[in-house]
């Protein structure tokens, strides 16, 4: 019997990373901007996305959404009311989406608008609403161009400090429910400072899907990102 050390030096999530790289290539070739929305449960990702899908469609953009939840298709039904093609991914207990789930659900998506036989080429934006969780989704690349971390005014200004991994890996940050900031005693300056401590220089949008506040700036950012001028 001899003992031997074998160097492996391989990524534990190599399979997911390779699949995500393949997806990123497909999204880029099809010219679709893909965003991965991550937050705690209850931050208001779905309301934020409902507003975004509805407004983008009203402006003539072609949009679609994939939405992840442990159970139920409630969110997919809410988002589909915008008229955009939407698919629900049920993870049945798994706390995050991974690249394989995205790949699988794109493959069987019949009502995804296509061009010249390429399903994704008919789209301008694809939004992926991740499972509500601030920890696990940060490890799984879905092939997105932009990862958005959302935080609501009811969650506490120190959320970014408590979950630095996610906020540090984000490309944009969105504060939701700004319409109830005052009754919640939300300290706006402190929240902005904390986000900047974790991810210096990140674009931050202060929004309310209820009143539409801050949404124009967010939609402008999306248009710029799609045109390749930011992110």
């Amino acid at each position: 019997m001899t003992t031997r050390i074998v160097e492996l030096r391989r990524g534990i999530l190599k399979k997911n990373d390779e699949l995500a790289a393949g997806l990123r290539g497909r999204f880029g070739a099809a010219g679709v901007l893909v965003l991965n929305l991550v937050s705690s449960p209850g931050t208001g990702k779905t309301a934020f996305l409902e507003f975004t899908l509805r407004e983008l469609r009203a402006r003539g953009a072609k949009v679609a959404a994939l939405v992840g939840d442990l159970e139920t298709d409630n969110d997919a039904r809410r988002l589909a009311a915008s008229g955009a093609p939407v698919r629900q991914i049920n993870t049945h207990g798994i706390c995050h989406l991974d690249a394989e789930m995205i790949d699988k659900h794109l493959a069987g998506w019949a009502d995804l608008p296509g061009e010249n036989g390429v399903a994704l080429a008919g789209l301008d934006y694809l939004f992926i609403e991740n499972v509500g969780n601030l920890v696990c989704p940060s490890s799984y690349d879905l092939g997105e161009k932009i990862r958005v971390a959302l935080l609501s005014v009811t969650e506490g200004e120190d959320k970014p400090l408590k979950y630095p991994t996610l906020f540090n890996s984000a490309d944009a940050a969105v504060i939701t429910k700004m319409d109830i900031a005052e009754p919640c005693g939300f300290d706006r300056e402190l929240a902005l400072k904390n986000i900047n401590e974790i991810r210096p220089g990140i674009r931050i949008f202060e929004t309310s899907a209820k009143t539409g506040a801050g949404m124009e700036e967010w939609l402008g950012y999306l248009a710029e990102a799609r045109a390749g001028r930011s992110a």
Binding site: M1, I5, V6, R9, I12, C95, C136, I198, R199, P200
Partner: protein, 120 residues
């Protein structure tokens, strides 16, 4: 809670690599895990015990080496280890740190195996 998926991914990868050494027993699996990798070692160790049961890795030990976050500072030109995950600033000059050089790793570094001597 994704440590169970992580443990399963490690078992798959090591089983695949160890297949090159028929009959060998895996004694130890050594990981390099960045401080920003979102993996809790206690939780991973707990999941490891469950995941390796009934696999060729049963009885193996998981050794986790945690790597600090290292940033490169544009302002002062130096690399440095972050002092706290609650403040991404250059430890030398205090400027905001945006260029991460280490800290997101989630890798299997090496495995230690007992090989069966070939019969002569």
């Amino acid at each position: 809670m994704h440590e169970l998926s992580i443990a399963a991914s490690i078992v798959d990868a090591v089983t695949e690599s160890a297949a090159a050494y028929p009959g060998a027993r895996v004694k130890e699996v050594r990981l390099r895990v960045g401080a920003l990798a979102s993996v809790i070692e206690d939780s991973l160790q707990f999941c490891w015990g469950i995941t390796i049961e009934g696999t060729p890795l049963e009885g193996s030990k998981l050794v986790v080496r945690t790597l600090p976050v290292v940033t490169h500072c544009e302002a002062c030109g130096q690399d440095g280890e972050l002092e706290s995950l609650q403040s991404f600033r250059c430890p030398h000059c205090g400027e905001p740190a945006t260029d991460l050089r280490q800290g997101r790793e989630l890798e299997i570094d090496s495995i230690e195996i007992d090989e069966v001597e070939e019969a002569v």
